[in-house]
Assembly symmetry: C2
Homo-oligomer: 462 residues x 2
């Protein structure tokens, strides 16, 4: 396959403008106030697939937000690549920490992105990375180089648990039949250290509610005499980790796949600068489970983090009140072979069991997904390796990520094919944070590398 | 002194209407958005004092909200009663739990208030109880029965720590000179069990801030590897109580005045029905410091309660984020002889000392005040006792309250006089809570009892 660079350079500005237009739509799936924008985004994605060369595109309705499907079948005897991505984004708050409005994209140079980066919610996760595939298809069709069949499945509920995706896949196994699934929704180590994500953590996300007295109480008249739901909630959450930061939920670690010392040694070879890591986050020290390195703590070990907590008076000034209720959103990152439904149940049983008399506790499961590992011996991984070699000039490092793409395990179960995670973002791109951005160089490098994957994968399957 | 009942019955409707008008103004001192309403309320109070018979009234400016002063001096050789109250109110939230708008008063019958109760923020704390004194003055002046001199000092910052009051008193010792201070900002045991509050708890109110990474982080990529400020905050707060619910701050109990077993036995005589208490709050059990009864826990023992907590994503749905910061408002109720400034310092030092590496902790003192005890041997207490006997037909029970009126200790220090706490509200009146109310019977009973206090106090001082 020809080098895509010249075509990309010629159309660079248009590629950027099209992505910027997509980023201007606040497709926040977690907040129903943005429903109209989420649906509008699906329309824009559908049209972009049509323009890029799909023969057939459609908006597929689901119990939730629609899934955009597109395909170009050139020869049924050739292999088929299924591209998955999502057009929804995380909520942008806290808004006051953004240097520019999250849905008003700007390109600014940074230390890691000397050619500039696009700052906007969704620029990297996942609109930018998803759109690389649309532009890669455009390149292959415009230059008559598409070597195989391609299908697109772009959903709008990834940030809220992809609930409708399973429903959709079960009903469309035929339509979605493929030889490999290609996803760009992860990162790589650095622009000069290409890597391919071979592992993802699973997830269990729950919301807890602690109810004490039937009304807010005066903390003077009742303080000390009744259980304060906020004090109780802090005690309950604190008890979920022991002094070594091990999680105390009975049975939590039972199914954890412990890596061999060889595997851990191999992991340790990946470049990591602890001082730079601390400096980037402005923290005095790292913090986590005893006996594991930072890279292990955020990839091969399960975790429990409070993502949000609220209760009582949080306005200006002081209010001497004992709140009737306190709440928290808690998520657990899981590793092979923990089952997210089993863990969710273990959490629920344990958390309810530690509630003291005087309060009632409710645990509401939100969503979850299984962890996943891609074998580096698979054809798909080998093809991706060659693609990176041809565009980066070096062999990518296989890397376990701490993030979760719950549906990857689902794909293997339902569609019987392997997923290749070709991510071009950087951990420092602040996805899920204020000032999320995506390097212009990374965006274009992705568009350049993806066609090479098609080429090598097709060749290897001949 | 003549029985005030006939006058009160004749003017009952007007007494209620005047209070309702006062309650319609949202004088929330904690929220600067209501500044205009707070100041307007001061004006209304000033005019009501003039109408009630004060010879001289004025709005006294302070660094904060103004203090309304009024006086009627009939003979400098006679004793002088200084009435203190406050015209500001607590924030009404959570608003959705109010059955009627907090500043749109309605009168409804309740089980404990068969003659009806006025439902509105401030109805009991303290507009309603403060206004009893204004109407009692009206009665005494209209019927030419005022037996002594009277001064009023009504402030607008009680719910936020009375910061300007100390400033004002230091500069007006002459003007405020008195023989006894009379306050109705507490409760009584029941309408058929009159009681006089002889003790108040002190207060230390602080706000804490835990800062981890310099930005919100993706809980997948960083979860388990960096200190999560919310998890850390819950651990730190939980550690402030041990398994017996003793507070763990070093030195916290050093100055606590431990009651003798005789005193505790006397306290235990006050009627208390634990089952009714639990039923009223819809809790399965009470909760608190080991070794003490419910009535002791909320009156003679110091406490530590979280009044508000917040951090991370608290919106609809799920967001997998590690927040950069977490916050809490924490108040400690203190007892004789704990010094609130010392306790605040002890809290600050301890809380900062238990912060793990990887986060920084800030403790911001809000406000506070000393605990107070009124000797039941004082002339003021004896006069109040006789006043209750004449209107309730029974001797009031001396009672220690769990609440705080920080400035009572200040009065004794600066003005060298004792404070008598004649409260006519009930603990169940939901002050500081949604649906705060004040019994119509209690309101009128206060107006009836107060003149009797003036009568007996003057007689005893002859």
């Amino acid at each position: 396959m020809k080098d895509a660079k010249p075509y990309i350079q010629e159309h660079k500005q248009r590629f950027l403008n099209e992505l910027i237009d997509l980023l201007k739509i606040p497709s926040i799936s977690a907040d129903s106030a943005y429903k109209g924008d989420v649906i509008k985004t699906a329309e824009v994605v559908k049209n972009s697939l049509k323009k890029a060369g799909c023969d057939h595109v459609e908006i597929c309705e689901t119990p939730g937000y629609p899934i955009v499907y597109g395909e170009k079948i050139i020869d049924t005897s050739l292999p088929t690549v299924l591209v998955y991505g999502h057009y929804d984004v995380q909520p942008p708050d806290p808004l006051d920490l953004w240097h520019n409005p999250p849905f008003d994209p700007v390109i600014k140079k940074t230390e890691l992105h000397p050619e500039g980066a696009i700052f906007a919610r969704g620029s990297c996760d996942d609109k930018g990375q998803m759109y690389m595939h649309v532009k890669a298809l455009e390149y292959m069709t415009q230059t008559n180089q598409l070597p195989c069949n391609v299908k697109f499945m772009i959903e709008g509920e990834e940030e809220v648990g992809s609930e409708s995706l399973g429903w959709f896949i079960e009903r469309n196994r035929e339509k979605l039949a493929n030889d490999v699934i290609l996803i760009s929704d992860t990162g790589m180590i650095a622009n000069d250290v290409p890597s391919i994500t071979t592992g993802l953590r699973g997830l269990s996300y729950v919301e807890v509610e602690v109810t004490g007295p039937n009304r807010d109480l005066h903390s003077g008249l009742y303080g000390g005499a009744v259980a304060n739901p906020i004090n109780v909630l802090t005690k309950m959450i604190a008890s979920l980790h022991d002094e070594n930061n091990h999680i105390t939920i009975p049975g939590f670690y039972d199914d954890v796949d412990e890596l061999s010392s060889e595997e851990r040694a191999k992991m340790a070879e990946a470049p990591f600068n602890k001082e730079a890591y601390k400096k980037a986050l402005a923290i005095e020290d790292v913090y986590g489970e005893a006996g594991y390195t930072t890279n292990e703590r955020n990839s091969i070990r399960p975790t429990l983090d409070v993502n949000g907590i609220w209760g009582g008076y949080i306005g200006e000034g002081a209010k001497t009140v004992i709140a009737s209720q306190a709440f928290a959103k808690i998520s657990m990152r899981l590793v092979p072979d923990q089952d997210w439904k089993k863990i969710t149940q273990l959490f629920k049983e344990h958390f309810e069991s530690i509630a003291p008399k005087g309060v009632t506790v409710k645990v509401k499961p939100h969503h979850g997904g299984q962890a996943y590992v891609t074998p580096i011996t698979s054809t798909g991984y080998k093809a991706a390796e060659k693609a990176y070699e041809s565009t980066f000039g070096k062999t990518p490092i296989p890397q376990r990520s701490g993030g979760s793409i719950p549906i990857v395990a689902l794909f293997e179960k339902e569609l019987k094919s392997k997923t290749i995670l070709m991510g071009f973002g950087l951990d420092s791109d602040a996805i899920h944070s204020p000032n999320e951005h995506f390097g212009v160089w990374n965006y274009l490098k992705g568009i350049e590398t993806i066609p090479q994957f098609y080429h090598h994968f097709t060749k290897m399957n001949k």
